[in-house]
């Protein structure tokens, strides 16, 4: 009797280990469909980002698999992240796309978050830039004029714990008196509010800025101030290459105070800046994915970045920023993962005192 069970067990073991064999042989996804989980709704920024990339992955991943975007909106992207963390198999057939809205709750320690970026393998990351601008009637022409600026400003915000944390913190660090008006549904409505006069200071992502705010500037209805900046390969925040005529935030700070930014506020700013803009969107593979598969994805990403057609697309639709692949992406994202505890606590305290917002 017992022997039968042992034989059955061995047979079962042999059969299931056979299932692992193809993976060991060389990575080949032919005939497979890769699901790229995007924890946002169809048509949103991250969805568009993934859909623009997907055909290129189809081209460059070994075996030319189909790459399908699987939307999993919910819980402000937390639900999708949790699903990726708990349910996805590490067979290289499912990847995850995160955005700033996914990293922020992670950084702030929102209790519903189960996912952990420290455990996953990053494939590539896409930075974004932002440009801040102000109404002309204040006579401000550059950040220099913000020194001692006393007027009350209003900024259209989605929420203090959204990506708006960065502009709000930036304005505060520059000593501006900005009233955050919460409830707007995104930067699009924010821009409309600026045009309507409901708010008088605003920022837009670089792509939207070029298309929608530059005409306003030409008509004399807006004055550009600064960009947030971009991460260079040494981890410094430097001028945005897409809008090089504007100073980046650390430069603006220096223009106002005469010294470079430092201290807890600055450390917090930098950490959240990287999560929100420097490495805003990223593609991930689950923890237990084999190194061969991770390597296959990363080389595919490297080839994609070198593809001239891709470069054209990035310029047209993704802002024209250099995409980070493999190790560079990992290094950049480490800025997010290694946020010192005191910075996190500083931000939480600031949110509570300034906006009466408690992160649960």
């Amino acid at each position: 009797m017992q022997k039968k069970w042992i034989l059955l067990g061995i047979a079962f073991f042999l059969i299931s280990s056979l299932g692992l064999v193809p993976l060991a042989q060389g990575v080949d996804f032919s005939g497979e469909t890769i699901k790229w989980i995007i924890p946002f709704g169809v048509g949103g920024g991250s969805d568009v980002w993934a859909r623009l990339y997907a055909p290129f992955f189809q081209k460059y991943l070994p075996g030319k698999p189909t790459v399908a975007v699987q939307n999993m909106p919910g819980g402000g992207s937390i639900t999708g992240g949790n699903y990726f963390h708990t349910r996805v198999k590490a067979d290289g057939l499912t990847a995850f796309g995160s955005s700033g809205s996914t990293s922020f709750p992670y950084l702030l320690g929102v209790s519903q978050v189960k996912y952990d970026f420290a455990k996953y393998h990053i494939v590539f990351a896409s930075p974004t830039g932002g440009v801040a601008y102000i109404k002309p009637e204040f006579g401000v022409k550059s950040p220099k004029d913000l020194k001692g600026f006393k007027e009350k400003l209003a900024y259209a915000s989605q929420g203090a714990t959204s990506l708006d944390l960065i502009p709000l913190l930036s304005f505060e660090m520059l000593g501006l008196d900005v009233k955050a008006v919460f409830g707007y549904k995104g930067r699009g409505p924010g821009r409309v509010a600026f045009e309507q006069g409901e708010t008088n200071i605003d920022y837009q992502t670089t792509t939207a800025f070029t298309k929608n705010v530059r005409p306003l500037i030409d008509q004399g209805l807006a004055v550009p101030l600064m960009t947030w900046g971009i991460l260079d390969d040494k981890g410094n925040v430097v001028r945005d290459p897409v809008e090089p005529e504007f100073p980046c935030f650390p430069e603006a700070y220096e223009m106002v105070y005469g010294k470079k930014p430092s201290g807890s506020a600055w450390k917090a700013w930098k950490a959240f800046f990287v999560a929100g803009f420097g490495v805003q969107k990223a593609m991930w593979l689950p923890e237990k994915t084999s190194p061969e598969i991770v390597e296959a994805y990363r080389s595919a990403a490297a080839e994609i970045v070198a593809d001239p057609e891709f470069q054209k697309m990035v310029k047209k639709s993704l802002g024209g920023y250099p995409q980070l692949v493999g190790q560079e992406a990992r290094q950049a994202f480490n800025e997010v993962l290694s946020v010192p505890l005191e910075s996190k606590q500083w931000v939480l305290k600031w949110l509570k005192e300034r906006f009466d917002v408690t992160v649960k």
């Binding site: 699901k35 399908a68 975007v69 699987q70 939307n71 919460f182 009466d356 917002v357 408690t358």
Partner: protein, 169 residues
């Protein structure tokens, strides 16, 4: 006396009162910006729902006529006793619950297909062939949608044990 007043109608009205009451209670604990709207809405509704409860009780107590509200949507005219309606309601709810249970056990695709087949055979009373045809039509449809929208239908306990071919997996 109790059963004249404790009709489902009145119980539901009472539940509404409780719901808004709970709404107030919960809202108080939220952050300032998050509490204003639910708090004031629930307060106003709580008062109105209490008034409504009193009205409903009076109507039941005096056994007055509830109908005549003017919109078809607001009245269900039954040509059978309410008790019979409720019995049948429970019967159909039971069917739905069985469906849900089976989705969690054998996955959505399989359950719905079987559901259509069984329903057609035993409630619509067609023969087996028509029933199976209908089931397969249903399966075809959900497979199409699954492909088009890149959706995986809920899988059940069965799918965790053995891996079935595409639409049923």
């Amino acid at each position: 006396m109790p059963s004249k007043v404790l009709t489902i109608r009145v119980i539901f009205a009472a539940l509404v009162v409780l719901a808004f009451g709970y709404g107030i209670y919960e809202a108080v604990s939220y952050m300032y910006l998050a509490k204003i709207f639910p708090l004031y809405v629930c307060l106003a509704m709580f008062i109105l729902s209490c008034i409504n409860l009193v009205m409903e009780v009076r109507i039941s107590w005096r056994q007055l006529d509830h109908s005549g509200v003017g919109f078809v949507d607001l009245e269900s005219k039954w040509d059978m006793a309410m008790v019979e309606v409720l019995k049948r309601f429970c019967y159909f709810m039971g069917i739905v619950l069985v469906l849900y249970a089976s989705i969690s056990l054998i996955g959505y695709s399989l359950s719905i297909t079987l559901f259509v087949i069984v329903f057609y055979r035993f409630i619509t009373n067609t023969n087996w062939w028509v029933a199976i045809g209908a089931g397969l039509a249903g399966l075809g449809f959900i497979s199409l949608i699954s492909k088009l929208l890149v959706i995986d239908w809920p899988s059940g306990v069965l799918q965790n044990w053995i891996s079935l071919p595409w639409p049923l997996g």
